[in-house]
């Protein structure tokens, strides 16, 4: 009996086209990816099933965690106008250099008196954990709290520059005690911001 020989085929495929496509996609994704900003106050956000994405512009983020509150707002023009406004409210003169440096600060949490020190620091130094003590949220006498002023002046700046109502989002740590969150909400409500967003991470399907 003659053996039937199956002709052996080469298993090598031409990968050139596949490689081209893969690198094209890779380039696209690298370019569209936004670099994650280092956060001075890392928080672990609670999970939820909502799937509405957070907008990118005109939204201030109040980060609440470990009993501290940090404030952040996107947009260099807005931050610049914000520090000018805060300077007039608290009677602090900021130099042109300081304004420029502040306008690239993503998020911060210091009393207004220490703001100059933080501005003078380098980026990685500034974001060291535990360095910034948080923005004071208690009102002193008849003066509203500093957080109140930050939010209020940021709303003014957003309205002036972008003609948009600033939205407020709260990014709370999952294990933060309720009273701390309620204090922040109260500050927002005292200036008639009754609608805001809670930032959450995505939860698995079968909750």
């Amino acid at each position: 009996m003659p053996r039937i020989k199956v002709p052996r085929k080469s298993t090598a495929i031409d990968m050139t086209a596949m490689c081209d496509v893969a690198f094209l996609l890779l380039t696209f994704f690298i370019l569209t990816a936004t670099a994650r900003q280092p956060e001075p106050l890392p928080v672990d956000t609670p999970a939820s099933t909502v799937k509405i994405k957070l907008p990118d512009t005109d939204i201030a983020t109040l980060t609440v965690g470990h009993g501290k509150v940090f404030f952040g707002i996107p947009g260099q023009d807005i931050r610049r106008s914000l520090i000018e406004k805060m300077g007039t409210v608290y009677g602090i003169q900021f130099t042109e250099e300081e304004k420029k440096r502040f306008s690239v600060m993503e998020s911060f949490g210091v009393p207004i008196g220490n703001l100059k020190q933080i501005i003078a620091m380098k980026g990685d130094e500034r974001n060291r954990e535990g360095l910034q003590p948080g923005i004071p949220i208690d009102s002193v006498g008849l003066r509203p709290s500093e957080l109140h002023q930050w939010v209020y002046q940021a709303r003014l700046a957003t309205k002036e520059l972008h003609n948009q109502d600033m939205r407020v989002s709260i990014k709370g740590d999952a294990n933060e005690k309720i009273p701390e969150i309620q204090k922040v909400i109260e500050i927002l409500q005292s200036q008639n911001v009754n609608k805001f967003s809670l930032i959450t991470s995505l939860r698995g399907e079968d909750y």
């Binding site: 609670p46 933060e176 005690k177 309720i178 969150i181 959450t200 995505l202």
Partner: protein, 182 residues
Amino acid sequence: MAELDTSGGGKKGGKIRTKKMSTRVDLTAMVDLAFLLITFFMLTTTLSKPQAMDIAMPDKEVKDEQQLTVADNRTMTILLGSGNRVEWYMGSVDKPLTPPQVDNYGRNGIRKALLEKKKEVIAMTGDPAKSLIVLIKPSEKSKYRNLVDILDEMAIIKPQTYAIVDIFEPEIELLKREGLYQ
């Protein structure tokens, strides 16, 4: 394909031929790597964007003037206690229509009670527009996670309306009795 012709120029008798080398490279490993990176960048770009849960709080100033009266038998009060537990009852705190019950969060906990009560209330009023009203009362001992969990529950159940309200002393007593105020 892109193979170079290296055989030209050898017309004379000497015939010194350079050896023909294949220019093909094995691209398998490169493609593997490229796809790995693609997957990574795809997942990080789409997943890094945080989710936003919109909530609206009642207006502070007008609250005192127009006290909204809500029907007892349609109102469910949920007290958020410590240890990731909740306590709920129907009606008002001094005359609850159902005795206060302790429950967990999630699918097998408070959601069952919420769905059941929503059905009952709709059957009672006979009008799908007149459905359950939920009052959420976070106690000082609960965590922020609990508040988000219960708001998430509201997004799933969709009661007619819900509100976050301050907790009262008798309700703290209820939580204390069940050991949920530690």
